[in-house]
C-alpha cells in the first residue's frame, strides 16, 4: 500500500491521517540512516542508538517538515544532529574515555536486534550483492577500497604503498564509493 508512494507523500499522509505511513519511511531509510550514523560515530552500538533517536525525533517533528527539501535530506540533517549530540555527551562522560582507550568495544560487530531467519537470508543476499558490486569495480578502484576497508590502511599508507600522490588515493576512494552506491542501487536484493 505504501510502497508505491514517494517519501514526501508518505510524510504528508503520516501527518494528516495515517501515522503508520511513517513506518514505511522508517523501513526505507533505517539502514541508510544507520550507515550515516556509523560513518560519524564509528561504533555500532552508538550508531544504533543514534538511528533510533533520529526516527523518534523525525516522528515528533513531522508537522514541521516543509516540502522545500527532500525527506532524505531532512532525515540526514536530523541524524547528523543526533550524532553530534551523542559525541558531545561522550566527551563529558569519563567512562567513555576509558572505553576509547581500551578500544575493546570499537570492533565488536553486534548482530541486529531483530534477528530472524528471514533477515538472515536478506543479509546473505545483501552480502552477495556487495561482493558482486565490489568485484565489478575497476582494478585501481577496487584495490584502494580493499586496502582501506579490509586492511584498514590510512590514506598516507596507501599512498606510500602504491607510490601515488595522496590526492590521487583520496580521489580513487571517493570515486569507488560513488560507483559502489550506483551499483548497489541498481542491483536488486532478492530474498527467496
Amino acid at each position: 500500500m505504501y510502497k508505491n508512494l514517494a517519501d514526501e507523500e508518505l510524510v504528508e499522509l503520516a501527518v494528516r491521517e495515517d501515522p503508520d505511513a511513517f513506518g514505511e519511511i522508517v523501513r526505507r531509510w533505517e539502514r541508510k540512516i544507520f550507515a550515516l550514523c556509523f560513518g560519524m560515530l564509528t561504533r555500532e552500538d552508538e550508531a544504533r542508538d543514534a538511528t533510533q533517536e533520529t526516527f523518534i525525533a523525525a516522528y515528533r517533528n513531522l508537522g514541521k517538515f516543509r516540502g522545500d527539501a527532500k525527506v532524505s535530506s531532512w532525515l540526514h540533517r536530523i541524524a547528523v544532529n543526533q550524532c553530534l549530540t551523542v559525541k558531545r555527551r561522550a566527551k563529558t562522560r569519563s567512562e567513555d574515555f576509558l572505553d576509547d582507550e581500551t578500544g575493546e568495544t570499537d570492533r565488536v560487530f553486534v548482530a541486529p536486534a531483530n534477528y530472524s531467519p528471514g533477515n538472515e537470508a536478506e543479509q546473505t543476499e545483501r552480502l552477495r550483492v556487495v561482493r558482486q558490486a565490489v568485484g565489478s569495480l575497476p582494478v585501481d578502484l577496487r584495490q584502494v577500497i580493499v586496502m582501506k576497508e579490509f586492511e584498514e590502511m590510512t590514506f598516507q599508507e596507501i599512498s606510500d604503498t602504491l607510490e601515488l600522490p595522496l590526492s590521487t588515493v583520496k580521489s580513487r576512494v571517493y570515486t569507488a564509493l560513488k560507483q559502489l552506491r550506483m551499483k548497489l542501487e541498481r542491483l536488486p536484493v532478492e530474498v527467496v
Binding site: A35, F109, Y174
Partner: protein, 224 residues
C-alpha cells in the same frame, strides 16, 4: 572529486578524512560545526556512508570470522656450498664490529712498532751490550807527546799528538799552545815521524781533524 558533486562547499575535501576518522581533533570539531549547517555536505556525507557501510558489513560478516592461515614452508635440501656460506655469513652489525676490532688491533700493533723504533737508547744500549762496553770518558794518564819538527815536504804529514779526550773533557779548556819549532836544515831531511793517533772516541773525530788541519796550516805558515 569536486567535479562529481556540485553541491560541495570548500569543506568537501575533508569529507573522506572525516568519514575514515583521519582528522585531528581540532579539525574534526570544526568540520562537525560546518556539517551541522551545510545541507550539501550532509547529503554528500550520507551518500558516502551508505556506500561504505555495506563493504564494512561484508568484511565483518565474511572476512573477520576467517582464521588466519598458517603458512608452512616445505623443507628444502640445502646444498653443501650453501651450508658453508651460511656458516660464514654474519649479520652486518657483527661484521662491522669485527672489522672495527681488527682495525684497532692493527693500529695498536703499528703504534707499538713505531714506538720501539723511536727508542734509540734502548737499541744502542742493547747493541753496545751485545758488542761490548761503551768507552767511558774517564781521565787517563798518557805519556807526554814528543815534539814534532816542521816538515819541508808537504807529503809528510805532521801529526801532533793530542792529549786524551778524557782529559780535555774534564780539564778546563785551554788555549792552544804552540810549541817552538826548530828551523829546518837543508842538510838533513826531516825524519818521518810515526804518526801515533791517540785513542779517542768517535765523537771527537771531526773536531780532532779540524785541529790537525789547523796545526798543519800553522806549521806551513811558520815554515815559510
Amino acid at each position: 572529486m569536486a567535479k562529481e558533486t556540485n553541491n560541495l562547499c570548500a569543506h568537501g575535501g575533508d569529507m573522506l578524512a572525516y568519514l575514515y576518522d583521519e582528522m585531528a581533533t581540532a579539525e574534526r570539531d570544526g568540520f562537525e560545526l560546518h556539517l551541522a549547517d551545510c545541507a550539501g555536505c550532509i547529503d554528500e556525507f550520507a551518500e558516502l556512508s551508505q556506500s561504505r557501510y555495506p563493504v564494512y558489513e561484508w568484511k565483518q560478516i565474511e572476512f573477520e570470522p576467517l582464521a588466519t592461515p598458517t603458512i608452512v614452508l616445505p623443507a628444502a635440501s640445502v646444498a653443501l656450498f650453501d651450508k658453508v656460506r651460511a656458516a660464514f655469513s654474519f649479520s652486518p652489525g657483527y661484521s662491522f664490529a669485527a672489522a672495527g676490532f681488527a682495525a684497532i688491533l692493527f693500529a695498536v700493533a703499528v703504534g707499538y712498532t713505531v714506538f720501539l723504533q723511536e727508542s734509540p737508547d734502548r737499541d744502542s744500549i742493547a747493541v753496545v751490550e751485545n758488542n761490548g762496553p761503551v768507552p767511558q770518558a774517564t781521565p787517563q794518564r798518557i805519556a807526554a807527546p814528543e815534539p814534532v819538527a816542521a816538515v819541508n815536504k808537504r807529503d809528510d804529514i805532521v801529526v801532533k799528538p793530542k792529549p786524551a779526550v778524557a782529559e780535555r773533557q774534564i780539564e778546563p779548556v785551554k788555549a792552544f799552545e804552540r810549541k817552538p819549532k826548530s828551523a829546518p836544515s837543508k842538510e838533513t831531511q826531516p825524519a818521518k815521524r810515526d804518526v801515533s793517533v791517540p785513542v779517542m772516541s768517535r765523537l771527537d773525530n771531526e773536531e780532532d781533524d779540524s785541529l790537525r788541519l789547523a796545526d798543519m796550516f800553522d806549521d806551513l805558515d811558520t815554515s815559510r
